[in-house]
């Protein structure tokens, strides 16, 4: 039998002892004793059963466990006796630990947990840098990196494209899906093995051989019901037949996508061949692809970086387009956390503060309780309980409380992570991996137990340091020394300081969010909807066919009742990632690195009107600007400010694309160039996302542009009075009336789209506000506790004062000033802490300084009001003290 069977063993023993007693009793009766006397005689002959039981337990060698059981049982009884105290402590712990565990589980999913790939610690992302910003890689560069590097085992370039995919044999009813483009090496680098079938071969990366596809497990399940005979079936991708050669597991997460704005998971893969000449020399400047490398064993990221810098240096000497390009190698794990890491660390810090506040509250509670229990401890000590026994007893109580608190905390964290996954499906692809794994559980238990031990130990030791005689003599009116009250005041001061820091942090982040959402983006967000379509080159091979389709779709959509304006465009605010080199007529540039570049885009004549962008100068595009007329362009104010600060830009001519003499093949224009005349100046509108200032921008008309720029990727902007859902249906109807095989995707109202862009900031500020509220609540409890206790202690004194004629206002002030003093001290410390934390906060803020006086001031005011409110109840009680009653109890 083992110790955990102690219950059974005890029952066994009980039975054995009882049968002895019964036998003895029978025997005594046979000796002629009456039954009652026989009973007592048997008991006498047996001895003291409790003592014997103890001796037997001793003989079992389980005494320590027995003691623990006893302590635990006693602790549970104590808790049942004071349900108020117990529930406050357990709830405080559960809140503190639950919040910490929730944030930790996100941190775990985004930063800490190892990646699900074999050799995860050797995986890196490679990107070229221009002006310090990552711009992706180009295929010829990667080829050279791979062949010349000494530090990489393997390297793979990849990309993903929106494509129209149909699983039906005739290619009907296609969906727009995200299709990954990858060579076999990508799967090998990541260690991904197909569930069914095989990976791509090297030949399948060649033009004409590339009509094969690997589908993901998820797509296999949703579109083929996991049919094992799926291999060899045909998918229609952009009107081309592709045969399915394998199924790969869903292990490639969304954050690995080469372009960060495509957060949808990939559905299928085809060989890496974005264009027939992607590997040829003219594509060396076509950057923007993702690249993942597998380092050789033992190679550090720094060594790999140095290795690639060396190769990039050589490339720059050979190829002018590679001049001024830097290279960056970052571990794949860093890529996963992306820009979430600072926010998460901020939240982790905040939740740490919460836990600290909760624990200091706990310590104060325990201290208060130990004061109340002094008499009990004194009595126990007087009856012979050792000091260690008392400490053990208090610690057992702490342990029981902390186990309950941690358990509830874990449940809270579980609920929160579930809620997070439901609230946020896919805006943050990292959150799809959010689960409570053993790390979270371990963290929760360790933090729960250690906080309890840490904060329970001091009260435990203090409470057992009692002088039995003096306490018992004092008649049980437990008086605690001034040092103990000082400690509690210190705790409350710290709580106020921490709460202030949380409040300020939340306030600043809320303002950041407000500024981000309500800044003038330079266009009208209301009543605007956007969507995406893709016109595959098989059916729309020429610029003319694209223009025609656009015109017909525009006419149809305009005819829909309620629609006020329609634009077909390739860019729209607030973020246009397309950059293009250009040269201004009359300003020759001799070096490639001096060529200016601008945010670029092609639109139709209705763009400004539909997006609600104001024209500042000159004229808008018009329907009469066509293929045959002079190409025109519109620039924004930032463009004018930078390139024509003191001149009239209207009428100036600009060649779009790198100058031919310096670079024959432009990244986007290829060998084509077009010269546009500036016809107008538009109001600045966001073109680099919400948080960055407006960069110079130039837009032209796609119908006046060469084919490479007038592509099949088109965005729709529709301004209307129709509800988004109904509008989406109408757009789809009109689109399918023209071409039933073109799907409408990403249809969303502009305001929804913008709020998606601020998801991270929004959820952070919501969470931080909750934390601040929680911290505030705990601080209120802390202040209330101390003041209420002070009033209770000073009841007689206050009674005497009142009896001697002290005005009630004086008494009121006496109590309130106690709270105020703690609040002011806490504010001073908190403001100091905020200053220290400001540096780490600054990077997360937009449009507001970390030292914003309004935020600091209002947070301080809130805390003072709250502190006074917490004093109000005890102060009222103090004022209402009846002097006669108070003195009589003496």
């Amino acid at each position: 039998m083992r110790w955990w069977q102690i219950g059974k063993r005890d029952a066994d023993l009980e039975r054995e002892l009882r049968s002895d007693l019964e036998l003895e009793e029978e025997e005594q009766r046979e000796h002629g004793l009456p039954s009652e006397e026989a009973h007592y005689a048997a008991r006498r002959a047996f001895g003291n059963p409790t003592l014997i039981r103890d001796q037997i337990h001793e003989a079992w060698g389980w005494a320590p466990i027995e003691r623990l059981r006893q302590d635990t049982r006693y602790a549970l009884r104590q808790m049942r006796k004071s349900p108020g105290f117990t529930s406050v402590v357990v709830l405080t712990l559960a809140l503190g630990i639950g919040a910490t565990a929730s944030v930790f589980s996100v941190l775990n999913a985004v930063v800490l947990r190892p990646l699900d790939f074999p050799n995860a610690n050797r995986l890196v992302e490679i990107s070229s840098l221009k002006d310090g910003k990552p711009v992706g890689t180009s295929a010829p560069d990667v080829k050279d990196f791979a062949t010349e590097s000494r530090t990489f085992e393997k390297m793979a370039v990849y990309d993903e494209w929106r494509k129209n995919v149909s699983a039906s044999p005739g290619g009907e009813d296609p969906q727009e899906l995200l299709v990954g483009l990858a060579p076999r090496e990508l799967f090998e680098v990541l260690g991904v093995k197909p569930l069914l079938g095989r990976l791509f071969t090297a030949e399948e990366g060649l033009q004409g051989r590339n009509h094969v596809t690997l589908i993901t497990e998820n797509y296999w399940r949703t579109s083929f019901q996991s049919d094992p005979k799926v291999l060899g079936r045909t998918l229609t991708i952009n009107d081309q037949p592709y045969s399915i050669i394998g199924v790969v597991p869903d292990v490639i997460p969304g954050w690995l996508n080469a372009s960060y704005n495509q957060l949808r998971p990939l559905s299928l893969w085809e060989p890496f061949l974005p264009g027939p000449d992607v590997w040829s020399e003219q594509s060396r400047s076509a950057r923007g692809y993702g690249t993942i490398g597998l380092l050789k064993p033992g190679v550090t990221v720094e060594q790999a970086q140095a290795d690639l810098v060396r190769i990039a240096h050589n490339l720059a000497a050979t190829y002018p387009v590679d001049r001024d390009m830097n290279i960056e190698v970052i571990p794949l794990e860093t890529m996963r956390s992306g820009d979430l890491k600072p926010l998460l660390l901020l939240l982790m810090g905040a939740v740490g503060l919460i836990l600290l506040i909760a624990c200091s509250n706990l310590a104060a509670l325990l201290l208060a309780r130990s004061t109340v229990r002094q008499r009990e401890f004194a009595l126990r000590k007087a009856l012979g309980a050792g000091r260690t026994a008392l400490v053990r007893q208090v610690l057992a109580e702490m342990l029981v409380l902390s186990v309950m608190g941690s358990g509830l905390g874990l449940a809270t964290a579980w609920g929160t992570t579930r809620a997070l996954r439901i609230i946020d499906p896919g805006h943050l692809p990292q959150l799809l991996d959010l689960t409570l794994d053993w790390r979270v559980v371990l963290f929760t238990l360790v933090s729960g137990l250690s906080t309890c031990l840490l904060f329970g130990m001091a009260p435990a030791i203090m409470s057992t340091r009692v002088e039995s005689a003096s306490v018992l003599k004092a008649g049980g009116r437990g008086s605690s020394g001034p040092s103990r009250q000082g400690f509690r005041k210190l705790l409350v001061t710290a709580q106020i300081a921490l709460s202030l820091m949380l409040l300020v942090g939340a306030g600043l982040l809320i303002q950041t969010l407000q500024r981000l959402q309500h800044q003038d983006l330079g266009f009208r967000i209301d009543h605007l909807m956007h969507g995406q379509i893709y016109l595959p080159p098989s059916r729309y091979p020429t610029a003319q066919s694209i223009d025609e389709f656009s015109d017909r779709l525009t006419d149809r959509l305009r005819a829909v009742p309620g629609v006020r304006a329609v634009s077909i465009t390739e860019v729209y605010p607030p973020s246009d990632r397309w950059r293009e080199m250009f040269s201004i007529e009359g300003r020759p540039v001799s070096r490639l690195e001096d060529i200016p570049s601008t945010v670029f885009g092609v639109v139709d004549a209705n763009y400004l009107r539909t997006a609600g962008i104001a024209l500042v100068r000159g004229r808008d595009f018009s329907e009469s600007d066509g293929e045959k007329t002079m190409p025109v362009a519109i620039v924004n104010q930032a463009f004018v400010k930078q390139f024509f600060p003191d001149e009239n830009p209207i009428g100036r001519r600009i060649e779009v694309g790198a100058p031919r003499i310096l670079l024959a093949d432009d990244e986007w224009m290829g060998s084509e160039r077009v010269t546009v005349t500036i016809a107008g100046v538009m109001h600045d509108n966001s073109d680099q996302g919400l948080a960055l200032p407006v960069a110079p921008q130039l837009i032209g008309l796609f119908r006046q542009m060469p084919r490479p720029v007038n592509s099949g990727f088109k965005d729709l902007l529709v301004r209307s009075d129709i509800a988004p859902e109904a509008l989406e249906r109408s757009i789809e109807q009109q689109l399918h009336a023209l071409d039933p095989r073109i799907p409408l995707s990403e249809a969303e109202s502009m305001s929804d789209y913008l709020s998606d862009l601020t998801t991270v900031q929004r959820s952070t500020s919501v969470i931080l506000s909750c934390f601040a509220a929680l911290g505030l609540m705990l601080a209120v409890m802390g202040i209330y506790g101390v003041i209420a206790y002070l009033v209770a202690q000073r009841t007689q004194e206050i009674g005497i004062r009142l009896a001697l004629g002290a005005p009630r206002s004086t008494v009121l002030w006496m109590v309130a000033s106690q709270g105020l003093r703690m609040a002011l001290a806490g504010l001073a410390v908190g403001l100091l802490g905020t200053t220290l934390a400001a540096r780490s906060l600054t990077g997360l803020l937009f449009g507001v300084s970390a030292f914003d006086p309004l935020t600091l001031g209002s947070a301080s005011a809130v805390l003072i009001v709250v502190a006074l409110a917490a004093c109000a109840l005890p102060a009222r009680r103090a004022v209402r003290i009846d002097p006669i009653q108070a003195l009589r109890t003496e």
Partner: protein, 121 residues
């Protein structure tokens, strides 16, 4: 430790340390339950060794833990009732020999001190 302070009339408490030996010796006759063992020790000493039954049980459990006896719930042959029967193990038999010889040595040592004349003659 399992002794009682009570000493009445002609009887005396079981000597410290001898209880284990007595129990083991008793079990040499065959398996028995706690009450039987206690009664047996009392009867064979003509009630000279007086002890409370209860104090037998810690000793029994100690012996069981050391592996000198084994215990099992069994139905008594004379009545329709289960008792916990203790049985001497092989290890217990050896232990009995050890204790017996230790006890003899002890007795002899005590005797030499108490009756030196008898020793010389």
């Amino acid at each position: 430790m399992a002794t009682t302070e009570k000493q009445t009339g002609q009887s005396m408490a079981v000597l410290q340390g001898t209880l284990d030996m007595l129990v083991l010796r008793t079990l040499l006759h065959g398996p028995a339950h706690g009450h039987q063992i206690g009664k047996h020790i009392q009867r064979t000493t003509n009630d000279f060794l007086q002890m409370q039954h209860g104090s037998l049980y810690p000793a029994l459990h100690r012996l069981e833990r050391r592996g000198w006896v084994s215990a099992k719930w069994e139905t008594a042959p004379d009545r329709n009732r289960e008792f916990k029967y203790y049985r001497l193990t092989d290890k217990g038999r050896k232990q009995l020999l050890v204790e017996e010889s230790q006890w003899k040595q002890m007795m002899e040592a005590v005797a030499r001190v108490m009756w030196p004349a008898a020793e010389e003659s």
